[in-house]
């Protein structure tokens, strides 16, 4: 996915990622900010989820220990990734599965397309998967005459509405119920069973319409495509967490199952799931446990798909692993908690991030997976005020602010990076539109209401929030509108405690986002 060029100055500033032609973050963010519906929905969603999440996490007295264990398991796995990948391959193969390796998006799409062609089928059912969205699989399949049906309710809404997801967890949160009803009424018939006569905009009625529409697909479609939340190296077991049951349908009923999974999704042993199955549901949907989790190992006679293919996806992950600061991003378990506490995400909306990964995780992951050669990708590390709330909620303790600062330095100073497995040196963005996009993004992120601006300066003293050095021009451009934040000795939580002493002596371990 990374453009071959080693010089940012030679780039024209147009997006080369999955969503070609997207405007850079500040431009897209400005547009989203004007969309009142999107903003109101997002605000409602993020505040609702994060309040519930704090309660779910408050039930676990050992949250801190679980978080540390989760981070350590991921770090350990990454440090031995070549071993665990081979162990996984062996276990999946021994259990009757077929393992394929894809270095980039094009290769993954080609492998999946060929596998579907080999079945003779032209339709597939899909369960929501960020990896397949990252590589643009649906578009690649469509180009080869294969129709992919998204089966998550939200993804169905997005697909029927010819739209893009805006939130990892609730991708259609930018649509209200009346809009969803209209999409169902006008679009369902073109894709299969039409919406029932007189469909109302009650959520239960809309869910029923989706059930009826999709059931025919589940019962008759012969190929299913999924991602996975976890892959257990020593047993070859894949794990998918979900809520609606469409995942179970896609993973159980088709004759052929193809799973496209990033190489960072490995955990060494089955036991490791005891950590993530506690932290992920609580951190994600604020539930003690999500309604359904499916685990399968290769194929099983008389139960589930007869043929199973696992496509292991690199697509920039090894480049990310090569960066000793940025590699932490590979711990991510895609819970979306960091989105829900991010004031910039709340204002800008998911679409502004221009990739499958919105919010703080997108701001650190996309520029590493795709490089910082485009204007959009170079501006992403600036799509943050460095308030640190994302770090505080992250169930695998990714130091997102630290990576953001690191990536900002990469954008403005250049330096050695790995692109598509090759070590190269990129030049600083000096004098280029990229730089201005970055500055505009940071100005956007920093342009906060006064009360919030006071909080965001106090992120933490231990993380290197303060840009270590900025080229004169960039620093000046920053300071044109705002002085560089002074990082105090006080941590964010200490500040929170001081400022909320009278009403709420303890915000719990994970509710810094309340400091709006």
């Amino acid at each position: 996915m990374n453009p071959p060029s080693t010089s940012q100055e030679s780039q024209t500033g147009h997006g080369t990622g999955v969503f070609v032609g997207l405007p850079s973050f500040p431009v897209a963010a400005r547009e989203s900010t004007r969309d009142g519906q999107l903003r109101a929905n997002l605000r409602h969603a993020t505040h609702t989820i994060r309040a519930k999440r704090a309660v779910a996490i408050g039930e676990l007295s050992d949250w801190g220990e679980l978080r540390a264990a989760g981070a350590a398991i991921k770090d350990h796995t990454l440090a031995h990734l070549d071993h665990y990948l081979q162990q996984l391959e062996q276990a999946v193969t021994a259990a009757g599965g077929h393992v394929h390796w894809a270095a980039d998006a094009d290769e993954a799409n080609r492998i999946v397309t060929d596998l579907v062609h080999a079945t003779g089928e032209t339709e597939v059912v899909k369960v929501k998967s960020m990896a397949t969205q990252e590589i643009g699989l649906n578009e690649a399949l469509a180009a080869q005459g294969i129709r992919a049906y998204e089966t998550d309710l939200a993804e169905l809404i997005v697909q029927l509405g010819d739209d893009r997801p805006s939130h990892i967890l609730v991708p259609a949160i930018h649509k209200n119920r009346a809009e969803i009803r209209d999409i169902f009424r006008t679009q369902m018939a073109a894709w299969g069973r039409p919406a029932p006569q007189g469909l109302s905009d009650e959520p239960a009625a809309l869910a029923e319409a989706a059930r009826l529409h999709l059931r025919q697909k589940f019962l008759h479609t012969k190929v299913g495509i999924s991602g996975a939340n976890f892959m257990v190296a020593d047993t070859g077991t894949l794990v998918v967490l979900e809520s609606e049951g469409n995942g179970r349908m896609c993973l159980t009923l088709p004759e052929t199952l193809i799973s496209v999974v990033g190489i960072e999704k490995i955990v060494p042993t089955f036991r490791d799931l005891e950590v993530f199955l506690q932290t992920l549901p609580r951190s994600s949907t604020a539930e003690r446990m999500n309604p359904y989790t499916t685990m399968w190992t290769g194929t099983t006679d008389g139960d589930g798909p007869k043929t199973f293919h696992l496509v292991l996806l690199d697509n920039g992950r090894t480049d990310t692993l090569a960066d000793t600061v940025g590699r932490q991003a590979l711990r991510c378990i895609r819970c979306s908690a960091c989105l829900n506490v991010c004031p910039v995400y709340e204002r800008a909306g998911g679409h502004a991030y221009g990739s499958a990964y919105p919010g703080p995780i997108g701001a650190i992951l996309t520029p590493q997976l795709r490089g910082t050669a485009t204007e959009l990708d170079a501006s992403l590390p600036y799509a943050s005020s460095l308030c640190g709330a994302c770090y505080d909620v992250c169930p695998v303790a990714i130091d997102i602010p630290d990576i953001l600062v690191h990536l900002r330095q990469r954008v403005v100073q250049g330096g050695p990076v790995t692109q598509a497995g090759q070590r190269v040196t990129i030049k600083p963005a000096r004098g280029h539109t990229t730089e201005h996009a970055a500055i505009r993004a940071s100005r956007y992120a920093m342009g906060r209401p006064a009360a919030w601006a006071a909080a965001q300066r106090l992120a933490t003293g231990t993380r290197k929030l303060h840009p270590r050095s900025l080229p004169i021009r960039t620093a000046k451009a920053w300071t044109d509108t705002r002085t560089l934040p002074q990082v105090p000795d006080q941590t964010f939580r200490q500040w929170w405690k001081q400022h909320t002493k009278n009403t709420n002596p303890d915000p719990g371990s994970t509710t810094p986002g309340g400091a709006r």
Binding site: H80, T151, T237, Y292, T300, D314, T418
Partner: protein, 235 residues
């Protein structure tokens, strides 16, 4: 035929991983001691000390939290309870896995419910026409309100508990554990597993929780009390 399309990419990805980790040769396989040193596991095994009855109560409470219907009975009352639930639902047909204890459905059969034992020829379309499914489970986790199915003979293949709209699941007292860390050692990883915490749900439309999208929309859990608890929960 493990790999036809990506064999050179396999070598390339492994090379990239090793380069990223600063080595040119394969990293050594970590020993259990390495993992133990790298991963601190000072998190809790359970989050409270409870009697078996308290644990059962917690499970019932957490199942109900996520809109499962919980019914408690003793071994003697089990068949009658299942029959009552099928009747209340108005079920004409029920499918059961081949290994379901024969006496669980005695009362239901007497009530004229057509009980079909699962067999490989039963297609998803045919399952879609069945009103209810009755199964046991592998274990249940109180802290999270979770039932785990592992395709054992009293639970059957995964499609069985997926396609029908009404699932009655029986939990025996010795199957209840407190927590995730207690559950995993009791499971065989390589068996197909379905973990169920309440009926399917979505909050995709304006965050309104709607129960029941694609899985069984009604989940009825029958908790069988141990002999010691029978006096507390007469059938």
């Amino acid at each position: 035929m493990t790999n036809t399309t990506g064999s050179s990419s396999r070598a390339e990805i492994l090379r990239r991983v090793r380069q990223a980790l600063g080595t040119t040769t394969a990293t050594a396989a970590p020993t259990p001691e390495d993992i133990a040193r790298d991963v601190p596991r000072d998190y809790a095994t359970t989050h409270a000390t409870r009697t078996p009855l308290q644990t059962a109560d917690l499970l019932a409470e957490h199942l109900a939290d996520y809109r499962a219907h919980v019914h408690r009975t003793d071994a003697a009352g089990l068949a009658a309870t299942i029959a009552r639930l099928l009747t209340e639902r108005g079920s004409r047909t029920a499918v059961v896995p081949a290994g379901l204890p024969g006496d669980w459905l005695t009362d239901a059969r007497a009530l004229d419910v057509d009980v079909v034992t699962d067999h490989p020829g039963l297609t998803p379309v045919e399952l879609d026409a069945v009103d209810s499914v009755v199964t046991g489970c592998a274990l249940a986790i109180a802290e999270t309100g979770t039932i785990v199915l592992d395709a054992s003979p009293d639970q059957g293949r995964r499609a069985l508990t997926l396609v029908p709209d009404h699932h009655i699941c029986v939990i025996r007292p010795e199957q209840i554990v407190e927590s995730l860390p207690q559950a995993l050692p009791r499971l065989t990883p390589t068996r197909p597993q379905t973990w169920i915490s309440g009926p399917s749900a979505t909050s995709d439309i304006e965050l309104d929780r709607v129960e029941g999208v694609h899985g069984p929309r009604t989940l009825e859990v029958v908790m069988v009390a141990s002999d010691a608890q029978v006096t507390d929960f007469p059938g």
